[in-house]
Symmetry: C2
């Protein structure tokens, strides 16, 4: 079955939608926890299910290097391999090729690079990336794109975009009509409004099953990052899910939702957790700070996770100070739950038409962080 998407309600540009995939339904706006190598760091599939995650995001670049597509395919595809039986989206790995891989050589046909793990030579083309994701059996596949860092001059950005648009056509052609799931196009164009709009105009006729905004959070500041969403969020096809790649803070996400975005992913909840930063109803807590040494208050009294109410801040402080592995696990569950609960609030706001009326959830009784460090 192909993807199905319906918009159930709107509030300004914000949409409350439902995306049906081969492995289940995703109520949108939705956050996709990142399991780069097939598992969210520190969590089991039970933890992720119990947290209410509707979908997991994984990464084709990393899975291609280890354990390899052949192995995953032989184990029943990515669902059999990971034991996660709800929807899975794989990023194509374009971003990782340009941020992690060594000695990469870009040409019009694709990109050749050396694995950052063992130096093995690997080649990605729009066609191989589609084929690999089909072999994995993912619910949502992402096209290969060229994702340049910021800053970049407009001429180079235009050249990069031209390549991505060329790859978009080839990826779309390579996607089999009878393949379960769907292929998303990625709109590039860096920090230039004209390029971004040109990208939308060129991508729309290709009829992808969803559209992503890529090339954000690549070195630009928050104003430009949000600017891109404001320029094109509402221009993307209305009847397709829209995905803002790699963002971000709860505020970034709420901003994206208010400009018509449906799907989000970010390593932030897991990465912050490993650094001892907890997302709570009171804002971001740096649990390693000495002030928490004997603080008996719960990790997050408003969390939907019973253990966030049962464990004290003093105990998690202690586990971080003593470098206990349990510290990372507990903090990750707290943060992933926070993001998923936050998305639930946003969905309710859009449904009730109160997202735009009442402004930021930050002003609500249980606000997300207002003092979040940049990643």
């Amino acid at each position: 079955m192909p993807l199905e998407f319906e918009v159930l309600a709107t509030d300004g540009k914000a949409r409350r939608g439902r995306l049906t995939t081969p492995h289940g339904v995703i109520e949108t706006p939705a956050f996709m926890p990142v399991g780069t190598l097939g598992a969210v760091k520190g969590l089991s599939v039970d933890d992720l299910e119990q947290a209410g995650s509707q979908i997991m995001l994984s990464n084709l670049y990393h899975l291609t290097l280890r354990p390899g597509i052949d192995v995953i395919e032989s184990l029943g595809g990515i669902h059999g391999f990971t034991s996660w039986d709800r929807p899975i989206l794989t990023d194509s790995g374009g971003y990782q090729v340009f941020s992690l891989a060594q000695r990469r050589k870009l040409d019009r046909q694709g990109v050749t690079f050396r694995s950052h793990v063992d130096g093995d030579k690997v080649r990605f083309t729009p066609e191989t990336v589609v084929e690999s994701q089909c072999r994995l059996g993912v619910d949502i596949a992402m096209m290969l794109d060229d994702c340049p860092p910021w800053p970049i001059d407009e001429k180079k950005a235009a050249q990069s975009l031209e390549l991505t648009l060329h790859w978009a056509e080839r990826a779309r052609s390579a996607w089999p009509d009878d393949q379960a799931g769907g292929l998303f196009g990625i709109v590039q164009g860096s920090g230039f409004p004209e390029l971004r709009r040109r990208a939308v105009d060129a991508m729309t006729p290709l009829d992808f099953q969803g559209y992503a905004i890529g090339g954000v959070s690549v070195g630009e500041g928050p104003e430009l990052r949000r600017g891109v969403v404001e320029w094109i969020g509402h221009l993307l096809p209305e009847d397709r899910p829209r995905y803002l790649m790699g963002l971000g803070t709860p505020e970034d996400i709420q901003h994206g939702v208010s400009h018509g975005v449906d799907l989000f992913d970010c390593v932030m909840p897991a990465r912050h957790a490993r650094h001892g930063q907890l997302f709570t109803a009171e804002g971001v807590i740096k649990i390693k700070n000495a002030r928490y040494k004997d603080d008996p208050t719960p990790l997050d009294a408003e969390s939907t996770w019973p253990l966030a109410q049962r464990y004290s801040r003093a105990f998690l402080h202690h586990l971080f100070r003593t470098k206990e592995i349990t510290a990372h696990v507990l903090a990750t569950v707290v943060n992933v739950r926070f993001y998923l609960d936050f998305m639930r609030q946003l969905r309710e706001r859009v449904e009730s038409g109160t997202l735009t009326a009442t402004g930021d959830l930050r002003a609500a009784p249980a606000p997300p962080s207002t003092a979040l460090p940049e990643t």
Copy 2:
């Protein structure tokens, strides 16, 4: 309430017992997962409860250094601090003082040492160790003992034992009559049968609420280790729980049970897990071995943990190879579950009188490891 212990059934020297503590009942023989700093490495209290753990073991040496007894007491004692509301035993830390602490100076009154964490000077005496454990509110407290490594000559071992016996008297006197829980004595005497028997004779009249066999697994081989249990296991007071400290493999535990021991602890299931060694019904599996790269079989088809049946060996192999933190968590749950399930089997065998009749569980359809590396 003091501890209550009753022997429900016997099979040869083996006992099927029930130990009632302020925080609940422990069906014996029982294994106590080790949460040195208040949590089993990688697990939450939910994980440990769901695994069926009846009691957690923690360590006074480590908790004294971090976060300190004052902090734990202010948070409601060790149960409030850890959020583990079932029974807790703390080891006195005698072993850690002699294996981890720096610049230790032993005298007849106690031992002074430098913290291995920050170099702070700390002094333990039999009285302070009892007092600290009372302040923590543990269910089972252990006396301070002198735990010499092996090999040691008999004269030095006798001197060490004399000190431990002196400390035993003082610890027993220091234990308040109205304190909830109970204090266990520790029988030392190294690898010398005469010293061990002398220790039993001297300790028994002190009327501890339980008796531990200490000073094993300190460098001696398996024969001597088991020899100590055979010499004195059955000589310890019949109406008190018997605890074999720091052991061991499933075979060691079964051997201990068959010689009348009721309680066990060991870091082995958690430590082996971190090194990628899984205890399964098929024996110990070294999951990092290349042979598991594409092995679709479950981690342990006979585990009581549903995820051990859901996750493939190939996936856990992949998580270890890519150094994902989830690897440690999953392997730890597998191993702790294995130990707890193994104890359940042993209890059933003693109840049905088939422990001694049928020999090692190794010969049963679902045997524990037969090829276990020494720790």
